[in-house]
Symmetry: C2
Amino acid sequence: MPEPDGDLILDRLIHEPGRLAILTVLSSVSDADFVFLQRTTGLTKGNLSSHLSKLEDGGLVEIVKSFVRKKPNTNVALTPVGRERIARHWEQLERLRKLAEPSS
Amino acid sequence: MPEPDGDLILDRLIHEPGRLAILTVLSSVSDADFVFLQRTTGLTKGNLSSHLSKLEDGGLVEIVKSFVRKKPNTNVALTPVGRERIARHWEQLERLRKLAEPSS
DNA sequence: GTGAGAGGTTTGCAACGCCAACTAGTTTGA
DNA sequence: TCAAACTAGTTGGCGTTGCAAACCTCTCAC
């Protein structure tokens, strides 16, 4: 089965809209806590929780749990790997979009 | 539950990598047959078939089946609606990507 | 006619996303 | 003081999806 164009394979872990939103927010803030992410992405708690687990499993983010003012606090930040992979992902999308432009 | 940014909701029908690839190819060629799409997208037949059905159900593409040199031939083209929706989708992605750029 | 190949479609299943329900602890207030 | 309400998440159940393998129908070469 012929590959389409070499490396135009989109990373599903990143591509999923919910996670893309999370990663996008994280790209611009260095780190964020659960509540902040929930507000900015519009995801439900459950959703956000499971997406974060997957991103952590994939090594894209680092999660640090602690207690802030006696309440549980989940802090999330991109790992260097995550930062690189999301950058690559945007490049892939850009490349794909270019293909779609009929030179017009 | 607060909406994240109003209309930054990604269209899942379009966003799915396989279909994004199909739509991207179709954006640049006006119409294409099954085999051509399979080659350019790298999808398997089964996959391509089911994705095309979904795109058709969603009104994004028009599918015309006929016989070419006695063999079945499936021809696919974007509908005006499809063309518009994929354009909007790229806009949404662009907006999202902009959010990720920390002004650097 | 028989085998190989083209051009797809259908099926079966694992993985995924999503919401609702639940857990664990804290604050409020009667 | 003790229960109701709130904060901050996690887990479970379920429907949907994507994927590849198996299958189908027809054609052509021999």
